[in-house]
Amino acid sequence: MSVPRGRRTAIAVLLVLLAGAPLLALAPAAPGAVRVAGVSLLWWYTGLVAPLLATAITIAVLVRRGE
């Protein structure tokens, strides 16, 4: 039984979103420390953007009964 394409894509996107956090935080020249509206890019990403995207993707996959 192979994993349906939608789920496979969702898992890949979730893992890429997850890997983005340490890469943003630990990359040379610290791009995660750049401030946007007073908050670091790293915390905008890990505290808002990635969580909302990941939740939306997961809900989109879970509410579809077909796969």
Partner: protein, 482 residues
């Protein structure tokens, strides 16, 4: 199983409390741990269900060990709560263990658990919303204010300054500036003075009310349960040097990458092994939403604690940011009911978690009540050891990942068994390395902290290789769970 019930396995009080404390303390790894705590269970919810052939005795035993370790980590939080409330730690453990034994056996516990989880996550968010509205401070404004502090000092209103507070666990405090510390419990206090080329170690036997004068660079060792009072306006020992250091954690460097990926691999692998696959359909949206609310609440508690009271992380108590923040931010009249609400939410999370963990144990190793009783008893006994709750949780998730995930890619039960054996053997060898060789190379340290980083892929590789050799593998099959 509903997505909410599946999420209950993941939303352990120890996970949320650790996140809050790490964010409050400005730990370098807090941002990716916070994201991992959310995305790991989401990956598990999206992954397809496991076939019956994916289970094996080694994976079942590892699941039982994981459930025990996760319970032990939760009980350590209960011990912290008891210490914060002025009771003996064992009392918190005994109460949590008794509830864990009884509640899953109540009729209807599983039915009530899912809505209770949603209410508990909402209740954990409510005090934060109240703090935000009362102080007129949005979370991003609180973060920004915390990050602009010139130094992290004890405010006049701090409990550490007025009546003194207790240390929930042993601590080593490094003082950035001179300070007089008053001991409120008698005991032996060890000070390492670093003002000369060779450090000088002094041990002071002090009675309650006596004072220690510490100089910049001195290091004070404090036993769990010791109660100390500090001076207002002085820097919080062990805290980041400034708001910028809290926000940007100077310790962050590319050399942290192995440990970062180790932690994330442990979280994702542990979630795949422990979080069951839910039923699909529109109601399943509740699972991810509750996970988002709970992890957002944990991060929010940490951010507001850092901005309002940077000394809350001092005692090492996982619950200090959650239980003390409302009192500090809003005063006792408004803050006390909110602190009680947060405590009730955490107790509810513990109860929904133990109901889910018992179901997980029953699915893996049988539903005999004696097995659950043994897991709870062993978990309670483990709290007697001086262990870090996060380490215990990571070991639990890691062993489940090392044993459980190789069988997910295996083409049959025997192949899965071999993968699980290899995964567990590598996990145990790496986890035991610091005990066997305390002088091991520093490059091995991330692997010893998060053995699943290596144990999982080696287990997978063994299962894949055997599948290929026996012709029972399916190259396109991956991540199937029950």
């Amino acid at each position: 199983m509903t997505a909410l019930a599946a999420a209950a396995v993941w939303l352990q009080p120890v996970l949320l409390a650790t996140l809050a404390l790490r964010v409050a303390a400005g730990d370098a790894d807090a941002p990716w741990l916070a994201l991992g705590a959310l995305i790991a269970p989401l990956v598990a919810l999206v992954a397809p269900p496991r076939r019956a052939s994916a289970s094996n005795p080694v994976a079942a035993a590892a699941t039982a060990a994981a459930v025990t370790l996760v319970l032990a980590a939760d009980f350590m939080v209960a011990a912290d709560a008891a210490t914060l409330l002025g009771a003996a730690p064992w009392l918190g453990v005994a109460l949590a263990a008794a509830l864990s034994l009884l509640v899953p056996l109540l009729p209807g516990a599983r039915r009530v658990s899912a809505p209770a989880l949603a209410i508990a996550a909402g209740a954990l968010l409510l005090p934060l919303v109240s703090v935000a509205l009362t102080t007129g401070t949005a979370p991003w404004t609180a973060w920004s204010r915390g990050g602009l502090r010139p130094s992290l000092t004890f405010p006049e209103t701090s409990g550490w300054v007025r009546d003194g507070e207790r240390f929930a666990r042993p601590a080593r405090l490094t003082f950035a500036e001179g300070q007089r510390v008053t001991t409120l419990t008698a005991g032996v206090y060890r000070v390492v003075e670093r003002d000369a080329a060779e450090p000088t170690v002094r041990e002071w036997r002090l009675a309650a009310g006596e004072t220690l004068t510490l100089r910049p660079g001195d290091e004070l060792s404090v036993e769990a349960g010791a109660r100390l009072r500090f001076e207002a306006g002085r820097r919080v020992p062990g805290a980041p040097a400034s708001g910028i250091a809290w926000a940007d954690a100077p310790a962050r460097s590319p050399s942290m990458l192995p440990a970062a990926f180790g932690a994330l691999a442990t979280l994702v692998g542990g979630a795949l092994a422990l979080v069951p696959a839910p039923r699909r359909g529109p109601p399943a949206a509740a699972g991810p939403l509750v996970l988002l609310a709970a992890t957002a609440a944990a991060v929010g508690w940490g951010v507001y604690a850092a901005a309002t009271a940077p000394d809350l992380a001092l005692g090492g108590s996982l619950l200090a940011p959650i239980l003390s923040l409302p009192l500090r931010a809003l005063g006792p009249r408004t803050g006390a009911p909110l602190a009680v609400l947060a405590l009730v939410a955490l107790v509810a999370l513990l109860l929904t978690a133990v109901v889910a963990l018992r179901a997980r144990l029953a699915a893996a190793a049988g539903s005999a009540p004696t097995r659950w009783a043994a897991a709870v008893s062993l978990a309670a006994a483990l709290t007697a050891a001086p262990l870090d709750p996060w380490r215990v949780l990571a070991l639990g998730l890691g062993v489940a990942a090392a044993a459980g995930t190789p069988s997910l890619v295996a083409g049959g039960r025997a192949v899965g068994l071999v993968g699980s054996i290899v995964g567990v053997a590598v996990f145990v060898a790496l986890a035991a390395m610091p005990s066997v060789d305390p002088a091991m190379g520093s490059w091995l340290e991330p692997l010893a902290r998060y053995p699943a980083l290596v144990a999982m892929p080696l287990g997978w590789a063994a299962a894949r290789a055997l599948s290929a050799m026996t012709g029972r593998g399916d190259a396109t099959q991956s991540i199937v769970r029950k």
